[in-house]
């Protein structure tokens, strides 16, 4: 193999080490960006929707208590606006199903909310339900707690996934920096080996050839430098050996 290819191979290997590390780091960094966006889109939106539903539900519960105490004027507008808020939250959550298991919770919420709403939709003020705390605790409050529990589970699921995604982001950040570190260390070690080979197989033979030529010129001895590699230096040594032999034979003839 020629000297040019040997030297070129060294530089090519160095370039490849750094290039691959660079490409991989860029890929990981880009993935971090999309993962962070996904974290916001997929989980944070659902958590927000859950909180919105919880808040609306609390307001509905307060409104139900107002209706039970006969305050129709105050209770009815609160329950109507809270219902709209809840429906909006539920719709956001419904449109943002991204985690396995999330769909089941949405379906459960649909059913439970329909049952809960059915309870307070019927007239309360001026009926047998007005002031009926037993009915409240046995039916309305029970449905309210079930609904609240399901929303909490939906929020927890999203929190857990968010934590998992954040851990994955940490790993990805690690993976985006490590190739660089490994590439730098590898390149350093490689440079040392490359330098050793250049010195051993190129610089050192050139010095030996030079000394051999000097010896031939000064003492007239035969050129006896041996090169073990089959490259341009080998050819050069061979040519010098032949030249030296011709000079010596010429001198003898003269």
């Amino acid at each position: 193999m020629g000297l040019r290819i040997k030297i070129l191979s060294g530089f090519l290997i160095l370039t490849m080490m750094l290039l691959i590390a660079g490409v991989w780091s860029i890929y990981e960094l880009r993935t971090i960006g999309s993962s962070a966006q996904a974290l916001l889109d997929d989980n944070y939106r659902s958590i927000d929707a859950g909180k919105m539903m919880l808040e609306a539900l609390e307001r509905e519960d307060s409104a139900v208590l107002l209706l039970l105490s006969g305050k129709w004027d105050q209770g009815r507008p609160i329950i109507q606006s809270a219902d709209i808020s809840f429906q909006q939250g539920l719709q956001i959550a419904r449109d943002n199903v991204t985690i396995p298991g999330e769909h089941d919770y949405i379906q459960a919420l649909d059913k439970q909310y329909a049952a809960y709403k059915k309870l307070w939709l019927k007239p309360i003020v001026g009926t047998k339900y007005e002031g009926n705390l037993r009915w409240y605790f046995e039916e309305i409050h029970k449905a309210f707690l079930e609904l609240k529990d399901t929303i909490q589970k939906l929020i927890t699921l999203n929190h857990q996934t968010m934590y998992k995604t954040a851990s994955e982001l940490k790993n990805r950040a690690h993976r985006s920096t490590m190739p660089g570190i490994v590439a730098i260390l590898s390149a350093l070690i490689f440079t040392l080996i490359f330098n050793y080979f250049i010195n051993f197989y190129m610089v050192s033979p050139i010095i030996r050839i030079t000394k051999g030529v000097h010896r031939v010129m000064e003492t007239g001895e035969a050129f006896d430098v041996a090169i073990e590699t089959k490259d341009e230096l080998f050819d050069l040594t061979d040519s010098i050996r032949k030249l030296a032999a011709r000079i010596r034979s010429g001198e003898k003839l003269s």
Binding site: K6, S9, H174, R175, P179, I193, F194, E228
Partner: protein, 479 residues
């Protein structure tokens, strides 16, 4: 010493590592896990380092003994370094100290792990982890074949005594044929165990990785509960059979397969090895019957697996031995120190040296009884010289001294005595699990980082038969 020649041959080993890393990365791509890039990048770096010396250094067939020793030791050290790359690049539990520990543990076929949750690691990386065992095992074969005989009479004697004249000749001249024989046995056993485990109900991935770990007497499992995960008597029996086979000198196994099975049982080392495992199993069974195991069947099942696992330096587990009574614990510690036969992939002091020890004892006792007698101990009709006996006794003493020093170092780092001693013995013997906080159902993650480096030094010392590594680090050897 020609460092460039060492680098050229080490390059081949790095390429071999790169090949397995590449296969692991392909598996990672197949399973769509997160280890694809770490494995691929590791493979590329290893391949580039492997190819480069081949471009510059012309090939040569004449390698001196010293160069041979250096090639093997540098290959081992660089393999461990290259092997940690995918772990470090992947991250998770793999800090630099942890990755180094896992890599050295893999290549030296120790099987100790720092992973608290093995099943959380991607499959591609688990395959690489098992492959390090298998590559390490094949390295041991080359080490045994080409380097140990160059380490003087004692090193050679250890392997010569249990070989038939034909194999001995091959061995002596380190011919290509001898290497082929051992590699055929190694690959054949791996293939046979993979098929057997598949028949027993393991999936292909687990069967291959567990076969890699068994034949190399490693012990890395792909499950947190090791072999206990499968709760299958058939899988345990298959694993036990192959653990015992992997603990026997591979050339003897080859001869047995080739039709000279009588040679196998004619070897006093093999007879001692099998008898020790049998007696160990029976005594342990008697000890653990009643508490913690009610039935004789269970006592036999768990005693045999644990004794064979530690007695062959494999390190798989089907029970939490930390809960076993003191006698059973002591027996397991004895087997952790002794391990199996020379010429196999097992570690430890080795059965051969224990047999030499008894021969030396016998000679000394006879010498006291008959002061004027000239006593020459023999093993399988081969006379053993005083030099060989002395060298083996020295090795045993040095081995125990290293275990003791390592235990002291670990204790000084705050590790409790039992964990420090058994952890040192288990890593020095390339066994895997110890007792206490490094027991069969736990791991080495709680050992401080400095302790992990001490234990990896033990693994390398044990694997390279102490003297190999000492010679390597002596400045005189580099001239």
């Amino acid at each position: 010493m020609r460092p460039q020649i060492v680098l050229r041959y080490v390059g081949f080993v790095l390429l071999f590592n790169a090949l397995f890393m590449f296969v692991s990365s392909m598996l990672s791509a197949f399973y769509s896990d997160t280890a694809f890039f770490p494995l691929l990048y590791g493979a590329m770096i290893s391949a580039l380092f492997g190819v480069f010396p081949m471009i510059f250094v012309p090939s040569t067939t004449t390698i001196s003994n010293k160069e041979g020793l250096f090639i093997v030791i540098v290959s081992w050290l660089l393999s461990c370094l290259a092997g940690l790359m995918p772990y470090v690049l992947w991250g998770g539990e793999f800090t630099l100290a942890n990755a180094w520990f896992e890599s050295v543990s893999g290549f030296t076929t120790t099987g100790s792990t720092i992973l608290t949750d093995v099943e959380a690691v991607p499959r591609g990386l688990l395959f690489w982890r098992a492959a390090t065992h298998w590559i390490g095992g094949s390295g041991i074969i080359i080490f045994v074949l080409s380097v140990l005989p160059s380490m003087g009479q004692a090193g050679m004697m250890l392997y010569r005594t249990e070989m038939s004249p034909v194999a001995m000749e091959n061995f002596k001249y380190r011919t290509r044929k001898a290497l082929q024989v051992l590699m055929v046995v190694y690959v054949g056993l791996t293939a046979l165990e993979t098929v057997s485990l598949l028949i027993c109900g393991m999936d292909l991935f687990d069967a291959v990785t567990h076969a890699f770990a068994t034949i190399a007497t490693g012990g890395f499992s792909t499950k947190n509960l090791s072999i206990a995960y499968y709760n299958s008597v058939a899988i345990e029996i298959v694993t036990m059979v192959f653990m015992v086979l992997s603990g026997i000198h591979f050339a003897l196994l080859f001869m047995a397969i080739s039709g000279a099975s009588a040679d196998l049982f004619r070897s006093s080392v093999v007879r001692y090895y099998l008898a020790a495992l049998l007696i160990g199993t029976l005594v342990t069974m008697l000890d653990i019957h009643g508490s913690p195991y009610e039935s004789w069947g269970d006592a036999l099942r768990y005693a045999s697996f644990q004794i064979l696992s530690l007695g062959t330096s494999t390190g798989f587990a089907t029970a939490d031995t930390s809960l076993w009574p003191p006698l059973a614990t002591l027996l397991l510690i004895f087997f952790t120190l002794q391990c199996a036969c020379a010429g196999s992939t097992s570690g430890g002091i080795k059965v051969d040296r224990i047999v030499f020890f008894w021969k030396a004892m016998g000679k000394r006792i006879k010498g006291v009884q008959h002061p004027r007698a000239v006593i020459t101990p023999k093993m399988d009709n081969v006379p053993i010289s005083d030099d060989v006996l002395e060298m083996n006794l020295l090795y045993i003493v040095l081995y125990l001294a290293v275990v003791f020093i390592s235990s002291v170092l670990l204790s000084s780092l705050g590790v409790d005595c039992l964990s420090a001693f058994t952890g040192s013995a288990a890593t020095m013997g390339n066994v895997g699990p110890g007792f206490g906080m490094v027991g069969s159902m736990s791991n080495f993650s709680s050992i401080p980082d400095a302790g992990k480096y001490v234990l990896t030094a033990d693994m390398l010392l044990g694997r390279l038969e102490i003297f190999g590594l000492i010679i390597f680090f002596m400045s005189k050897s580099w001239k």
